[in-house]
């Protein structure tokens, strides 16, 4: 059973997931990148994957058969133990039997794959606007559905594009991991925002986004509802943050028009990145309020787009301090200047 363990000093959770080691390439975290032709994520290969959880499909088509646009399946090599399978052995908040101060608990949760296209595409820029909007709609649908799972406290949605970003199968897909704990990084962010809210009565993120809009120098693009900018303390070259300008704690509270606008801006942002660094690997990471903080006044959902063109090395792992050779001001100027016709 997958286990969450907490570092006794740093209070940092890790997921010990030995089942993951049974994947085809034992010590690579993800299965082999496969070229199209024998891709398990392409339309027509539905029986190579676990049964779908959700799909956007043509009326009249059957589950786990062709006819879909976006398809959600359980991850074949989950990083967590799926609730219901062996959940009777679950341990919650236990002390380690051996060493005082060690904490662990069973990692009961969900781990799903969101296949973003029926045809074999590799880069997000190959998706049409309608497809990109479909994908965001599916994220929202899964987040809403997972609110019913009482054991979950946080759901992380992320997308790895390119091998350097930890990509698995190259066919464009996102993943979703639901956890029975709130990750320490999210707790830190939420707590800092809550402290400001309690002190000043406003959302720290709203304030920060307003500050960026006023400062201008790190803005990549602004629309009616969204701002896309390079964060002041960017860890990665060309790192971007996409956020709604109006306060909203939960991604899954966004309406259709809001999601369509987010999709359009994300698509243009990634097209800019692609133009500046061709074939750059990157991660997209959604930050949304922990499930228990729904509709709170102090958190604000946003996407982080993290290009992976510089490798984290000993310095970064030792100190937590990233070395970024491109200032966010220069990154924003370069990304703004990129011609995108979308």
């Amino acid at each position: 059973m997958a286990e969450l363990r907490k570092d006794p000093l740093l209070e940092r959770w890790v997921l010990i997931a030995e089942e993951r080691a049974e994947k085809p390439q034992e010590f690579d975290d993800r299965p082999t990148v496969r070229r199209s032709g024998n891709c398990p994520f392409c339309e027509g290969s539905e029986l190579e994957t676990p049964n779908e959880v959700l799909a956007l499909r043509k009326p009249g088509t059957m589950p786990d058969a062709p006819g879909w646009r976006v398809r959600v399946i359980p991850n074949k090599y989950p990083a967590v133990t799926i609730a219901g399978r062996g959940a009777d052995e679950a341990v919650v908040n236990a002390r380690s039997p051996e060493v005082p101060g060690y904490e662990r608990q069973s990692a009961l949760g969900v781990h799903e794959v969101i296949i973003e296209s029926a045809v074999h595409v590799v880069r997000a820029g190959e998706l049409s606007l309608a497809q990109t909007t479909d994908v965001l709609n599916v994220y929202r649908a899964r987040l809403l559905a997972l609110r019913a799972e009482s054991n979950l406290r946080y759901v992380q949605i992320f997308r790895n594009v390119g091998e350097a970003a930890g990509a698995s199968i190259e066919h464009l897909h996102s993943q979703l991991i639901g956890l029975p704990v709130v990750p320490t990084l999210i707790i830190d962010e939420v707590s800092a925002a809550l402290a400001q809210f309690q002190k000043l009565g406003n959302c720290a993120f709203c304030e920060l986004f307003d500050g960026e809009l006023a400062a201008v120098s790190r803005i990549v693009e602004v629309t009616d509802r969204f701002v896309l900018f390079c964060p002041y303390a960017s860890r990665f070259p060309y790192e971007m943050c996409l956020a709604p300008r109006k306060h909203a704690a939960d991604f899954d509270s966004a309406d259709d028009a809001t999601l369509a606008e987010a999709a359009a801006l994300m698509r243009r942002g990634l097209a800019r990145l692609e133009q500046v660094c061709e074939n750059a690997a990157y991660n997209c990471v959604l930050h949304t309020a922990p499930l228990e903080s729904r509709a709170c006044g102090h958190y604000h959902w946003h996407w982080e787009i993290l290009p992976r063109i510089v490798k984290a090395a000993g310095f970064e792992w030792g100190t937590g301090v990233h070395i970024n050779p491109v200032s966010p001001e220069r990154a924003a100027a370069t990304l703004r200047a990129a011609a995108v016709a979308l």
Copy 2:
């Protein structure tokens, strides 16, 4: 000038170092890996590098000429601004002029490269015990010398082996970055240890190492003075921690016999890793007390050995939670079973 910026919510420093982007490969964090033959780190290529800061050399040989065993040079593409060069423009603890809450300061510091062998070797296992001991001696000498630099608050020593670990030039080397701030990760670790010290009167690390010795299951090897084990909340498969069993806050307080024993155990630990995962990339990271906490009762120096055989992806960057497919108990059993004749 290189700049330290703090994330307004997470209080996480980043180093914005635009000079780094001028390196041969603009968007790779390190220069090209070069095969031997035209290697700037080999004996005889001394004039291709900046002037040496320190070297262990044959009596009678000249600086920046052949005859050395270990050689320390300034990094040609430093991640920090070297004190003395443009230091008059330095800014300490400034608010950003644009957005309230943003903090920055000039990243005045040192960035050095420790070339670990005069002949072209690529893996730490190719060093003799005498050479490994030389390297640890040089680390100690540089730490001791840098205590005189009043602007430094933390010195991070690290070694990147293999491209997946962020290795630069393949010729075996370590690096040292001295910073005018204590990184948040180190502050968190030191603060947690200090809290336990104040509450219970003991060193949290001493307690933890004793706990590991008693539990046995995660121990790789024990010597008179050292313990080598796989941490309970290992982030990476086959992650190891090497620590002195007797309390010691500062690496540079270790005497010759202690360093020789540390070198021998580190060498055997890396040989075990090499046997379990041939050619695995890895980082070695020294954690030692911040300069201002010298000889304190609550911190305890240790090395982290971080194999980089699984890539950090969107989930890890989004949550800070690492997925580790090899439990430390299984890792320790496998590493223990590896035959090493050293």
